[in-house]
Chain length 138, copies 4
């Protein structure tokens, strides 16, 4: 199955800028999260329901490489791409582009796992219906 | 009983600045929280233990009046003063001063209550030992 | 002249929550800013152009009263209302409502002035075209 | 020359937590910045003076790998180590440990360059006295 997923649009906020007059680099890590949750929504996974099942999804690692500054009020289009999913772990790559000019502002990656309590779980067994949604876009 | 409470010192972070090259105004609200938690520590209340008792302490209102800018790397001294405590609600006023020059950068206030679940509780009954610590500095 | 201004919609982010499982109270202050900048956009003022004219718009005071929690992924509708404008200072009130149920989550206020360098300026003289846009919605 | 640099201590703030009841992962990126600026202070570089010389120091890349959660009120000790410095670019690695137990909570890296205006500059020529301070700890 192929799904037509839309990039996530974020309008850079004034409070996200720093005294270099650019968006502070830490915010891109937050934008990745916004884009990731939007991506899940698009494939039919409401993250609130995941947590309501007692499953938490910690970030195992994150990275970002900055190519071009984002400034206050810029619209950026963030495109997450699922690069790994095996029921136990998953990973995304991200592109952050100016939504109007297409300039590549940043690229990044994140890795995640599924926990119930302190225990790593396999989504295939812990939540088969969620597992299938991930599988469908692999 | 009189206690000799120390102001809370915060060193303004680079990521707290915005493109006006000053600390973004929303951070003062966060500094009030830091100062409030430090104040509780000083009177013998570890906020982790409060929450471990199932008691949460939401903010009912907050306000801040900005007098003078704070800049990156400035040390500010935040002095909370308990202005109300009756077991059910409490309130603080805050002064934010440059720790070196004494310049008054901001003043503010916050109001709080105690909840267990969704229920307002009286600390006098819910946690008498915490109640007494508040009473002691009233 | 009457303008038909739309409330500003914000979707509460995961990173805006705290360990009470609600949106941290400091974020409402940031949402007021988002809503204020959106409001200016709607009346034809691009805040980037204001700053490009050498005019900065500091926050003189801010307050918020919390009525009902906002949770992760909730859509809130923030309605700013200009309560004062005299060329030198202006003020807004804000209502934050659940965008779907209409529940009032918070109300607030902010006051602002116009500076060029460190000098307070009257927008009537400093930027007559911006002054008129404010006047039109008073 | 060997210098005896101290780790940077950060006390995890309530507002840094999220609804997983842990410090949100984006804050570690901010802590790296805090630790980096403290490190510069320790080798005699006041970051305000760097910027006053018209030099800005953007982040070229950043990464973090999360090993163990940090919770509200935990003290973490962040140890930056200069892994590259050649006048044009520099890089740090970071260890984030619980300040009391020594548990390794996270490791990370960041890369930076020096700009004046939009131009990459070599600190050796742009600011020889700063260059020497970096050289001394290489």
């Amino acid at each position: 199955m192929k799904m037509d997923l839309k990039p996530y649009i974020h309008n850079a906020k004034y409070y996200e800028t720093d005294q270099m007059s650019i968006v502070h680099h830490s915010n891109y890590i937050r934008w990745f999260e916004e884009a990731r949750i939007d991506w899940m929504n698009q494939i039919g996974i409401d993250f609130r329901e995941v947590e309501a099942m007692g499953i938490v999804v910690p970030v195992v690692s994150v990275s970002c490489r900055y190519k071009h500054v984002t400034r206050f009020a810029d619209d950026v289009a963030i495109t997450p791409r699922l690069t790994l999913y095996n029921g136990i772990r998953f990973a995304f790559s991200y592109e952050v582009r100016d939504a109007h000019t297409g300039t590549l502002n940043a690229v990044g990656e994140s890795e995640h796992c599924f926990l119930r309590g302190e225990q790593v779980v396999n989504l295939r067994r812990a939540a088969p219906e969620l597992h299938q949604r991930f599988q469908a876009v692999k």
